[in-house]
Symmetry: C2
Amino acid sequence: MTETASRIPQGERSRAMRLRLLEATVDCLVELGWSGTTTTVVSQRAGVSRGAQLHHFPSKQALVVAAVEHLAERRRDELRRRAEGLPEQDRIRGVLELLAGQFVSPVFFAALELWVAARTDAELRELVGPLERRIGRETHAYAVELLGIDEARGDNRQLVQATLDLVRGLGLAASLTDDAKRREAVLDSWAEVLGRELVIS
Amino acid sequence: MTETASRIPQGERSRAMRLRLLEATVDCLVELGWSGTTTTVVSQRAGVSRGAQLHHFPSKQALVVAAVEHLAERRRDELRRRAEGLPEQDRIRGVLELLAGQFVSPVFFAALELWVAARTDAELRELVGPLERRIGRETHAYAVELLGIDEARGDNRQLVQATLDLVRGLGLAASLTDDAKRREAVLDSWAEVLGRELVIS
C-alpha cells in the first residue's frame, strides 16, 4: 500500500472503487455491448482487482444493474441542471429537446443493452424490471413538472405518455443511424401538436 | 438419401433448406437473443448440416441479416392481409392497432436483437443499415396508404413519422414488460389526436 493510499480512509477508497467500476461498466456497455461487457474487461478498465470487484458486485448482472441505476441518477441530475436554463418562450419545444436528448445519448444506449439482454434472461429481468419501471415513473413525473401541466386535465396524461414513447422510439432509431435532421422535424411538429392538444393549467 | 428426398428436385430442396435455416434463426433470436444465436444452434434446430448451412450463409452475420429480411417480407404480407379486414369506421384507430401490432411481436423482438448488436459491430452495421432504412421507408409508405392521406398536405408527413416512432417506442417498452393496457390507452388517445390533426384528403 502506498503512503498516499494509506492516508485515504477505507470507506472513501471503497466508494471511489465502486464508482470506478460503475463508470467502467457503462463505458463497456456503450462501446462493446452486452456480450462484450465481461467482468474481466470491466475490472481491467477500472483498475480494480478481481477480488475487490467480486466484493462489491458478486455477478455481472449485479454490476450492470447497479451501473444503469447509477447512470439513471447521473442523468436525472444532468436533466435538472439543464432544465434550469429552459426559456419560457417555446417552452414545450425546449422540454421535448431535453427529453429527446435523454434518449439519444450513451446513457440510453447502455440501458438499451441491458433491456435487450433482459428480454431473454429471466434472472436479469427480475432485476431490470423494477428499475425500468421506477425510471419510467420518475421520467413521466418530471416531464409533467417541466411542462407545467395538470395531469388530471383533458388527455394530458396520455399525451405525456405518448411523448415519452415517441422519444424512446426516436432514441432506438438513433442508435443505428444518425438521423438528427429527421428527429428535429418530428419534434418541431410534435411540439405544435402538444401546444394545441395539451390542456395548460 | 431416402427415396422421398430423391424425388424432390434439387432446387426445391435447397430452397426449403434455406427457409428452414431462416425460420430457425428467427426463433433463436426471439428465444435466445443475439449472443445465444450461434450457427451451431441454428443448424441443429433447422436439421441442416453445417456444410449445407455454410453453403447458404457463409457467416452468422449473413444468416441473421437474411433472416430479418425474410421476416420483414413475411410481416409485410401479413400486414396486407390484415389490412383488408379494416373497417371504415374508426379507421385511424384500426390502422394504429395494425401498426403497433407490428412492433409488439416476435418479429420486432428479433429485429431488435439485430439492431442492438449492430450498434457495436461495424461489419454488421454495414449490412443492417440499408435493410433498416428500406423497411422504414416501406412501413412509412404503407402507413400513408392505410390512412388514405396525402403526405404533402399539412403536417401529415411528420405526423406519420411521429406515429411510427411512437409505436417503435411502445414496442421497445413491451419487450420487457407486458404493458398492453397502457399501450391501448396511449393509442386511443393518439387516434383522437390524429383525427383532429391529420389533413384527410
